[in-house]
Symmetry: C2
Amino acid sequence: MESLPGQGEPASGLFERIDHVPAYQRVAEAIEREIVSGRLAPGDPVGTEADLVRQFGVNRSTVREGIRLLEQSGLIRRDSSRRLIASLPRYTKLASRISRALVLHQVTFRELWEVTNALEPLSAELACTHATPDVVAALGENIAQSRKALGNPKLLSELDTEFHALIGKASGNRVLQLSREPLGLLFQPTSQMLGEEVDTAADRMVEAHTRVYEAIKAGDADEAGLWMRRHVADYRRGFERLAKDLGQPVERLYHDHISTHPPPD
Amino acid sequence: MESLPGQGEPASGLFERIDHVPAYQRVAEAIEREIVSGRLAPGDPVGTEADLVRQFGVNRSTVREGIRLLEQSGLIRRDSSRRLIASLPRYTKLASRISRALVLHQVTFRELWEVTNALEPLSAELACTHATPDVVAALGENIAQSRKALGNPKLLSELDTEFHALIGKASGNRVLQLSREPLGLLFQPTSQMLGEEVDTAADRMVEAHTRVYEAIKAGDADEAGLWMRRHVADYRRGFERLAKDLGQPVERLYHDHISTHPPPD
DNA sequence: CCGCCTACCTTTGTCGGACAAACCCACAGT
DNA sequence: ACTGTGGGTTTGTCCGACAAAGGTAGGCGG
């Protein structure tokens, strides 16, 4: 978050900065350009390493280092036989990356909650006009499972996360989906803790979920937004009741969870 | 956005999936764990490549490929002398990554606008209680420059983007900041186009900015939120007036901009 | 004729070694 | 005190090599 001087920008001298961009970076940039410009469509083969060696005129090691950069940014992937293909960045991967960054920057629960309090009601409202039958069905199934899981905080918190992810999907807004996903990931461990510590939490959660679900089925955006707002406010009250301060940073705890639930590739 | 079957999850057989994780990935994961767990703090030296070769018992090429992965994800950076140090992912880099992903997924202006319409007013409201004097000063300076740039759409759109980024900073909420930054990047080219095509757009923009600014100085959250909402709604009206449809995907145009304004390293 | 199995071929992952350029540090000279 | 020099270190790049896994084509049996 800081913007230290670093050595990125012009330095405002008369001469251009001499920055010898390493070959592996230029390889990565060249391939990246092909993909973002659309000349390489998702799914297209990028060519074998030997091909790239020939095309760029650099050593295979260099090509491979460039490939690693793109691999991590999600622009290329390996198909079943490990051949390179162009790819769209998976948003689940991006989301977990964002979550990690937020944890590392030690953002507080307050920051998290404030944004969630804006996005989740919006999600619910949009879901009322955009939800498809299969997502509605998945929501119903989720609630049915939640009722059965009332005594199991861990499972319940997972169902909670899934419920909100489904609402995001139902919103039909991918920007919203990508924006809220990292927050959902960060809330999950706390949500589980809440379910364990506050005895009315589970019931209230399922109640709120049900109301939102019914409102979506009825296409009543106001009602859906209202109950989602209550639900989010409820979460905050529960949190404040047991951990005195919203100002504490979102903890490492979440990583233990992530490491046992690696995001699907 | 699709969630194809792929071959990620357990497959629910009795035996663990045999997936030979390549050594370079394991190197990267090992170093990543050190960083996210806090055992390697940002700024700490990670060690030379030769060190890592010794520690992991693999070849230097393998180590280097692992390093590339971490380098791209922002967990590792090179200091002035190219030595490796642990680092926090810069959110500007993350933001541009997110922008790129959104463009590649061809999200529509509607999707973008809906989320912006939730986040920007929130930003303005929070800024009223969290703005620091220097950010307020920067906002004032930004508006002063905007008045002078009324005849220059390109400059004006840059100042517009900066204004909103400053509001994000003033909100004191880093989650919000990171959430809204990619949207701001995607709006900029369109905002410029608007300034060129709709003759009242520039005046209305500066008017709205000024109102928000005054409200923040006065600490009036309702007023700030109100004018930001108007501002965002105004943008949408202007957009609809000249391009018939909000449903069209956010265009490649934005990349031309990004490529001439690379994010600071 | 069709399907299966086997023997090649290709491609990736990893290794070992090598060298030039850039960088750091210490030291000597003016 | 400042400058220049020289050696050691580190990165970026190259070359060559090989095992393992996946793909392919041709032969064999039904």
